[in-house]
Symmetry: C2
Amino acid sequence: MKLNPISGFPERLPNERIFEQEIIEKIKKIYEAFSFVPLETRAIEYLSTLTSKGSDDKEIYSLKRALAPQEEREKDPFALHFDLTVPFARYVAENLSKLNFPFRRYQVQKVWRGERPQKGRYREFYQFDIDVISRDELPLSLEAEVLEAYAKAWSVFDSLDFKIYFNNRKILLGFYESLKIDENKRASVIREVDKINKIFEDGVREELKKLEINDDAINKILEFSKVKLSPKDGINYLKSFNINSELFKQGINEIETIFSLLSESTLSKFVVDLSLARGLDYYTGSIFEVKLDNYPEYGSLGAGGSYQNLCGNFINKQLPGMGASIGITRIISLLIDNKLVNLKNTLTKVLVAVYNEEQRKECNKIANTLRELGCNTEFFYKSSKIGKQIEYADKLGIRNVIFLDPENDNKISIKDLINKTQEDVDDIYKWWGYAKNRI
Amino acid sequence: MKLNPISGFPERLPNERIFEQEIIEKIKKIYEAFSFVPLETRAIEYLSTLTSKGSDDKEIYSLKRALAPQEEREKDPFALHFDLTVPFARYVAENLSKLNFPFRRYQVQKVWRGERPQKGRYREFYQFDIDVISRDELPLSLEAEVLEAYAKAWSVFDSLDFKIYFNNRKILLGFYESLKIDENKRASVIREVDKINKIFEDGVREELKKLEINDDAINKILEFSKVKLSPKDGINYLKSFNINSELFKQGINEIETIFSLLSESTLSKFVVDLSLARGLDYYTGSIFEVKLDNYPEYGSLGAGGSYQNLCGNFINKQLPGMGASIGITRIISLLIDNKLVNLKNTLTKVLVAVYNEEQRKECNKIANTLRELGCNTEFFYKSSKIGKQIEYADKLGIRNVIFLDPENDNKISIKDLINKTQEDVDDIYKWWGYAKNRI
């Protein structure tokens, strides 16, 4: 039987999974603090649902029953979702009357993309998304709330100096309008500008020429794209433009209002980046991306934006909202690959050792008592020399070893392997009472 | 675009998902208390890996890239796992040198089976598994530990009177040996006896006749299958047999030893059930199944057993262990379908209301302060009449509404919608300090 890892389908060792799960839990708690509710959608959708958004169809995995006869294959097969946004839009449309609006949800699930694996690119990986979606208009205060929560979520990676690069589609479209670029070309210009980190200035110039944009406009677009400024300087820079475009002014106003509602610590993570365009069609206002300057090879680690009409493919109703995504698998891999994290082999705090089989039942009771008190406890699986059991605890990183000392009337004794102390204990409840905040 | 639910692929409403997630979290904490580590395997395996165990191949979903040309299809395609046991065996074999033994892991993931959906049967569903696996022999104390943890996990469903039906393959095989049934027929007899709840006594009699078992033996097998007794009576009953089979005696000894190591509250959940056979080939000793007498239509809600050699298809090494599984999706559906649970619409404790836009920044600060203190807080999305905002909180089940009272110098005021009280608060930190354990 085949035993090799499959490229693009990462699996974690237990210590890595402990870390990954802890991070996911911490982020959940932060989003819950901002009143997002948990949601999960099924992993499969109809293929026709997934191919409707102009996505890269070749990357989608469709399903068939392994040994089903040829004629049983459906015209519209099931397929694995490749992101959480399309399923979320479908879910909201399907359950419209049962949801409370504004609907804030978080969703952390695996998604699948049949692309060529490379650094930071997987075929099975976790996304962690939030969205807030409204039934009427979307106040900018809700956008600010999403961004506040999103920045707080990133702060769980305390060793990382992340930045949220921020822009607004209205600013880009307004700017292109002022350059007299045809309205029907502006979306294409956005898609080309979005490639600036991959194909660089010369590449973008080339592509814009193909769109028959004149040289003067191209120069101005590329000049504009160079701007990366702090929130305050960014807004001042934008205000210094004297452009006759309502859209442009609206965009500036949106950025300014949102920034005014962010906490100082969150705002300090933001960079106004006028090169940022985001490829996806559905964004209409705010757009943003999280990157780490020190690890450009991992690309974008998260992104999002606001939209006017996410569910338009499903229902005849405008539901504006904002979404923000964290590429969990990618960021966890970055941290592990670059040894930026101390991995724990165990969540266990106490090892109950057992000298001999006569002690087993009593030791078992102690272990169960500790577990009920909320202390993660391992019971050594066979009676053997106490030194061997301590060695085992030490190797795994279990801090305390409890044993019944046969040389001391089978009294409970506790070794602390970090402080290198040993104490006799009369009452295990009492011991845990003061030890729980220490270990 | 299609908006209908897909049969067999359940999706939860937010209040249902809040509950499902809480249950999963509680069970994780219990297994962690017993020193199990979290693990996840990729959702896909090679099809050849999944079809190796004599499983029902027709149920397996294999993957293909949606628009990949015919000739690109692999001979051995990827497929979605249909349980967590085969992937776990593959993972252990693959990472043998990197794991600590005895290796205790929990694993909660979705699995997929292309079967016909019916009550309690899904095509996409959660399994929650634990296993302990050893590199040398497996002491019965480890089996007892798995069962203790498993029973504790079931106790999170405090409204349910679950029972763990327990048997041992050695008892069955020893009993068949004493009936002079050919050694090579005994596994087939087990598979037929396992169907007793589906095809009943007459059906089993029919099938055993086909295996050319004589009438006397069939009668004794069916008689034996009727036994359902408490742990103590069950062991006494088995001991009363005067059977000349080492295997039979070994089986009794195993059950007795395991029971002697269980806590009283856990043992009280056990029923010795000599009809229990379990269809899967790899079990060699203990076998068990969890059922609810009141809800027979949901079938088995969980099951497990011990095995001598789970990884034999992957490596040339005997790794004995024991596994136990909870059918999370099935039990959650049972609870929701039968209204056995009070669902919460929100995890939020406080709604910060906002009278007018002048208050927005101050209210935003209060909300962020509460969030940092660990209080899940929603900020009402627009300024409007306070009554409307209180109504909203009430409808969702948010207990407290905080607002700046413009008629009282914008002092912080807190309404408790359950106690129907209102108080002015000078210090939000202080308020949360005493409120956090109350709300």
